[in-house]
């Protein structure tokens, strides 16, 4: 066998052993070593990946407990090892992987949504910066054009819609999971200045299910008018949602859909 192919084969086998720990593979790799010797490497790799997943999913980690979280994280790491050489990016698929587990295996039904929430907070921290929108320009929009307004979300803005009390679980270590349709809005507000949080601070706010439906439409690029007509958004509080987004500087801009009946010469540039 050519040396290159031999090395490639050795690396493949070693990688497989690191992730899955098959003792037969370890024995074949180095028959001269005691069986447990190669497990030192496996322990280091898996321990690091589980720790990374735990740091990115602190709420899920706390609610599940160390043992149950580590067992799931180990399985995920073995099935979906990192593809990028940046540990902060590792774990993007964890929530979906949890959601795809066999329900008969006994995973708590709220776990995927809690993972989604944790990952939203994590992504918000690493998202790009953006200048908040110009409030004065927004205020200059004529009232009859308000319905045609589209919002440009800050790059860090995330929305998690769920059937569980995700927000309470995050905020209160004593809370127990209960079914509750709600949504959580996550975003990183620009730094306030001298408070020591360079680059801004990740915050989240609880929304009702209706406000969550409204926010989902707005973040997906619907106009205020389209979003307000959404059936799921019946009873939603548009004013409070807009105020929340504006106060936390979580909008990066806006655009106006021009419709002939509303277009006036010399109108506002979108």
């Amino acid at each position: 066998m050519p040396a290159d192919a031999k090395l490639a084969g050795l690396q493949r086998d070693f990688a497989a052993f690191l992730l899955r720990g098959d003792p037969a593979v370890a024995g074949a790799l180095r028959p001269d070593l005691p069986a447990g010797r190669l497990a030192v490497y496996r322990n280091t790799v898996m321990g690091s990946l589980v720790a990374v997943l735990g740091h990115a999913h602190p709420t899920l980690h706390r609610v599940l407990g160390e043992k149950r979280f580590a067992a799931l994280a180990c399985r995920f790491a073995a099935e979906a090892p990192p593809r990028l050489p940046m540990l902060w990016s590792y774990g993007a698929g964890f929530a979906d992987w949890l959601a795809g587990l066999d329900p008969a295996a006994g995973l708590s039904p709220w776990a995927p949504d809690l993972a989604r929430f944790d990952w939203a907070m994590h992504e918000a921290l690493f998202a790009a910066d953006a200048e908040p929108l110009d409030i004065a320009r927004l205020a200059a929009i004529p009232p009859e054009q308000a319905g045609a307004l589209r919002l440009v979300p800050h790059p860090s803005l995330r929305l998690v819609r769920t059937g569980w009390n995700i927000h309470a679980l995050w905020r209160d270590a004593a809370a127990a999971p209960v079914p509750l349709p709600e949504a959580v809005l996550v975003g990183r507000s620009p730094a306030d200045g001298d408070d020591g949080t360079a680059g801004g601070e990740v915050r989240c706010a609880r929304l009702t299910a209706a406000d969550g439906a409204l926010a989902a439409r707005l973040l997906a690029g619907a106009t205020l008018g389209e979003a307000a007509e959404d059936e799921d958004a019946a009873g939603a509080d548009l004013q409070s949602l807009l105020a929340l987004l504006l106060q936390n500087r979580l909008l990066a801009g806006f655009a106006l859909d021009r419709h002939p009946s509303f277009t006036r010469p010399g109108g506002i540039d979108p």
Binding site: H55, P58, L125, I135, L138, A139, I141, P143, E144, A146, G147, A148, L149, D194, D195, G196, T197, A198, E201, V202, T223, L224, G225, E226, A228, E229, L238, Q239, S240, L242, A243, L246, Q247, H259, S261
Partner: protein, 100 residues
């Protein structure tokens, strides 16, 4: 087949314009109205800090392993930080008032 939505119904416009105007009015209010909590430094026990350390020692809520460190903060009710023997600005080292 339902008709394509061609325009926003004029009737639906008023609440939307009102909501936007209302939200902007809230914006114009005093910034302090955003929150009735304040960051209080030097009063958090390990694992109970609010968010990132002022000096960048860690970046996450609950990540601190220092007791009453001046770079860690917790949210407390506005005005109650002094009662908690904390400080409104980060400082170096552990909080001397919280020893013992």
């Amino acid at each position: 087949m339902t008709a394509l939505k061609t325009a926003i119904k004029p009737l639906a416009l008023l609440p939307i314009a009102g909501a936007l105007a209302g939200a902007l009015t809230l914006m114009a209010g005093p910034a302090a109205a955003q929150s009735n909590m304040e960051k209080c430094y030097g009063i958090s026990k390990p694992g109970e800090n609010g968010c990132a350390h002022a000096k960048g020692l860690h970046s996450c809520a609950g990540n601190s392993n220092l007791t009453y460190d001046g770079g860690d903060w917790k949210l407390v009710k506005a005005g109650s930080c002094a009662e908690e023997m904390g400080a409104l600005k980060p400082f170096d080292g552990a909080n001397p008032k919280k020893k013992g």
